[in-house]
């Protein structure tokens, strides 16, 4: 029923305002939703870093956003390509300017070279977040030791980091498993004859050894064929309770390839969905996956960045929802983002990291897309500013990147939105190729000198204390205000070489309070937690009430 609602809205939009979409798609609809103001302050924040390098680093450029020193504030790990990857500890004043301090990871410089991206995850269930580091060459599992220190645990976990050009990662806790299954997406096999054309690496799945009490990843499973993936994501696309692996691939290099979806049934070999399963052939320059359940029907929508059009897929209404048949609603909802929204360059865009968040706290999901020419591709826009597509009450999206102040002339790659200064407004980091990292402070309805709030908000940290998968990867957070519900899954993967774990942010609009329920990774639902807006809450499984968290130094907590 709810899925029909989204489709109906889409139809209404098409019939109601065909001219606005079809007549001149270069003029996106104006945003009615409040436009947040972003101020770039990477330099002042002491985050001076560049992702750079030769062809192998035309892709990648990710960041891991996570709390490495247990103060609940998000810290930053930044891939460097030919430069060293670096770790920055968050020292931002609450509700003030962003501030970071570079810290020593404890890992050798060699290990931090040739890094394309990273994802935080607690692999060994010790409640310290670990890092999966994607590299040109051996991937690394860095064990979090606390206090932002790490050590390589490849050997102790019998993990073979490989020699591939790794560009994507995702993880899930399969049913019955104490430890996560790790999936690595690889790009071009440069050593294969005929490289780079049609020579994509296989992708790999690392399941924890079922025969061993200790955590070991001895036997990778090959996911073949690989089609030069740039983003992968474990996702419960069919509300089955079992995550499948969605893989977005770059058609620039593969031959005969397509987008992929692998069933990953517990204790059984993974299996790709095929045409006979309803899976449809789709070729794009897949660069980043973002997922959100826009119409709260339990079936997530997927934004797939590419060169040219971004896709936004929803399960096809006409088909059986047990089949992975998707239709593209990007055009209908105004998120194709196919060429620059400002400037004179009308060539197609190149999209990379994508992420659904609520940047103006109006209770509507927004879509951020990092944009940037691969290097100097003449057929694609050279000035290609990042997109900030604000969700509208009409269920469409409207571009606000220029007015929000993020339309810099930089080649974006990875990135992420997180509330670095704990003021309830999501800030933005973008890792740019051959340019400094962009770090934007969201100053809401105000300015850097006088930030002002927008809508109400809620930040939720979900934990499973004294259990494996303490960060509840695979859980679904449901936030109800009035008769509206927002849901978001806790996932590891997707985006472009960039991931984050920590507080999950919800905009509440004008709601002063909310009822929060958690669907835990094992499928059990929590009772409703009654929480007030504009607060950080910590929900621990089994507790009657949510805890509140206040950042240090908040002037009027």
């Amino acid at each position: 029923m709810i899925r029909r609602t989204l489709a109906a809205a889409t139809c209404l939009l098409l019939s109601g305002s065909p001219s606005s979409l079809a007549a001149d798609s270069s003029k996106p609809p104006e945003a009615l939703a409040p436009i947040p103001s972003f101020t770039e302050e990477a330099q002042q924040a002491d985050v001076t870093h560049v992702y750079d390098g030769a062809w192998e680093f035309f892709v990648g450029g990710g960041t891991a956003i996570f709390d490495c020193n247990d103060d609940r504030r998000p810290d930053l790990f930044l891939a460097g390509g030919s430069n060293q990857a670096r770790l920055f500890q968050n020292e931002s004043i609450t509700a003030g300017p962003l501030k970071f301090k570079e810290v020593d990871t404890g890992v050798s410089d060699r290990s931090l070279g040739r890094v394309l991206g990273a994802y935080p995850i607690d692999i060994d269930n010790d409640d310290h977040l670990d890092l999966v580091v994607l590299r040109l060459g051996e991937n690394l599992l860095l064990k979090g030791l606390g206090d932002c220190r790490f050590e390589v645990m490849n050997r102790s976990l019998a993990f073979e980091g490989g020699r591939e050009w790794t560009t994507a990662f995702s993880a899930t806790w399969e049913e019955g498993s104490t430890y996560p299954t790790l999936a690595f997406g690889n790009y071009v096999d440069r050593s294969a004859p005929g490289s780079p054309w049609g020579t994509c690496h296989n992708n790999f799945l690392f399941r924890p050894d079922a025969d061993s009490e200790a955590l070991l990843y001895r036997e990778p499973t090959r996911l073949s064929p690989g089609y030069c993936s740039l983003s992968i994501l474990f996702t419960d696309w069919n509300r089955s309770g079992e995550a499948s692996l969605r893989i977005s691939n770059d058609r620039h290099y593969y031959r005969g390839g397509q987008e992929q979806l692998w069933a990953v049934p517990a204790n059984r070999p993974p299996r790709p969905y095929r045409r006979s399963d309803g899976w449809q052939h789709l070729k794009i320059w897949g660069m980043g996956i973002a997922s959100i359940d826009l119409n709260v029907d339990g079936f997530p929508e997927y934004a797939l960045t590419s060169m040219g059009d971004t896709k936004l897929q929803t399960l096809d209404l006409e088909s059986d929802d047990t089949l992975p048949v998707f239709e593209d609603i990007a055009f209908n909802l105004g998120v194709t983002a196919h060429r620059p929204y400002t400037g004179d360059d009308l060539k197609p865009s190149t999209g990379w990291h994508s992420e659904f968040q609520d940047v103006n706290n109006d209770g509507l999901w927004d879509l951020f897309i990092a944009k940037g020419n691969v290097e100097a591709m003449p057929d694609f826009a050279a000035y290609d500013p990042d997109n900030l597509l604000l969700g509208q009450w009409s269920r469409t999206f409207a571009e606000a990147g220029k007015d929000a102040g993020i339309a810099l002339d930089r080649r974006g790659r990875g990135g992420g939105l997180a509330d670095f200064n704990a003021d309830g407004l999501l800030d933005l980091i973008v890792v740019n190729r051959s340019s400094p990292v962009s770090l934007f402070r969201n100053t809401g309805a105000g300015t850097a000198a006088d930030p002002r709030p927008l809508g109400n908000w809620l930040a939720i940290d979900v934990r499973q204390p004294a259990r494996f998968n303490g960060r509840a990867v695979g859980a679904k957070i449901s936030v109800k205000t009035g008769n509206r519900t927002l849901v978001k899954d806790i996932q590891v993967g997707g985006g472009h070489a960039s991931g984050q774990l920590g507080f999950v942010h919800f905009g509440l609009g004008v709601a002063e309070r909310a009822n929060v329920r958690i669907k835990w990774p094992d499928g059990d639902w929590s009772h409703g937690y009654r929480v007030f807006a504009n607060s950080h809450v910590v929900i621990e499984r089994g507790t009657e009430k949510a805890k509140l968290w206040y950042p240090p130094g908040a002037s009027n907590p």
Binding site: P34, D362, S394, R452, G509, R530, F532, A533, Y550
Partner: protein, 475 residues
Amino acid sequence: MNNQTLLYCVAGAVSGLMVTTAIASPDLPPWSEKAIVEDVDIQALAASGDDPIAVLQPIGEDLFTAKFTVLDGAGRPDATGAILPTKVRRQSHLTFQRLAGLDANACSSCHNEPVVGGAGSFTANVFVSEGFESADFDTIDPQFSNERNTNALQGAGLIELLAREMTADLRKQRQSALAGARQSGEPETVALVTKGVSFGHLTAFADGTLDVSRIEGVDHDLTIRPFSQKGVFTSLRQFTVNAMNAHHGIQPAERFGSDWTGTADFDGDGYLDEMSTGQVSALVAWQATLPAPGRKDDLPEVWQDAADHGEDLFAATGCASCHLPSLPLDSLVFLDPGPYDTAGTLRQSDVETPLVLDLETLVWVQSLPRDESGRVLVPLFGDLKRHKIADAANDTLGNELLAQRFVARDVFITAELWGVGSTAPYGHRGDLTTLHEVIMAHGGDAADSQKAYAALEEDERQYVLAFLRSLEISQ
């Protein structure tokens, strides 16, 4: 010349600046049925240096007593009366009905006893629904709505000021506990107390987390919400915005406008942005400056003696442990917007400068008692705290089935008793005709006081009633 035009001219004659801030609708004939005819630019007013009370009070009174019409945007065919902008599932064929509303076309049609702004009879009860999209119920079955009697608004400005100061106190205590726990590395538990009222305990941990499970009588965000029978609304402004939509279908732009709904006509009646921030401010100012209730000053000797004795018994029976005779107020400066509203009600962060309503300038405020520190002793006979008011043995006041805004069905804020002699009938449903009945209806946290009252001799109980009946809203 109609009243609105007259007001506008008077304001203009008092101060040239007011001409720029009070804006009358042009070209309305004197017989116009439009009720909302003036607006105020509150940014200009705040910057002008003029006394906003003088400008806003008369406009607010006009709005409070106005009979809103469809020409003002009264009616909400596409929207429910819910606090959050919510679309109806289907339109009602009735513009007015007593349940889901519209249930009134003037504030004063309910708030009118004994004077405008006062309480209401049982006939003026309203229905509170948390059902949102199902708000088009057509039953008074309590599983769908809670029926509430109309509260008096006299003294509401002082109540809100007290609540703001208490909120600030509690939050300071929270901040102190957090700082202490972070510094010591050990959990720190604080007793939450403000103006002598205890709100339980709070434990802060070194990692900045809080255990809120022992907080009592106030929401976990430590915001004192003093308004409504339940005690779930923060400010006159928030309540006004709620009420304008719920009761009249007049949708203030600060919540129902395009910023938060994507349209300036959320209720689909063809009228855009039906109430401005200035008009809401005028309503707030008028309510905030309503004189506080007092005591009858012309009692016959027999009543005065009985009342004096009764006041002592009121304390001796423990009634005054919740119905505190007074709470001290540090500041009489009422800022509008206030400090604790959130998005959807105009916030201080939404304006350059808030309006400064100095209640000290009001004659009736100047006559209020003060303590040795000069603080006004607000004689509210309340504690601005929520209590459980029913139990299995005495469930008269536990007659609701629905919790409201996270507050359990049998928990209500202590009713302020100032003016109680003027506000019969009693109880949150207004279904208790005498003070004796409502006292006897107290259970839960008030059970001991009720028993103590019940144990009094009949003449002593009469003294208590004599005392309560002496608390009145001036006419």
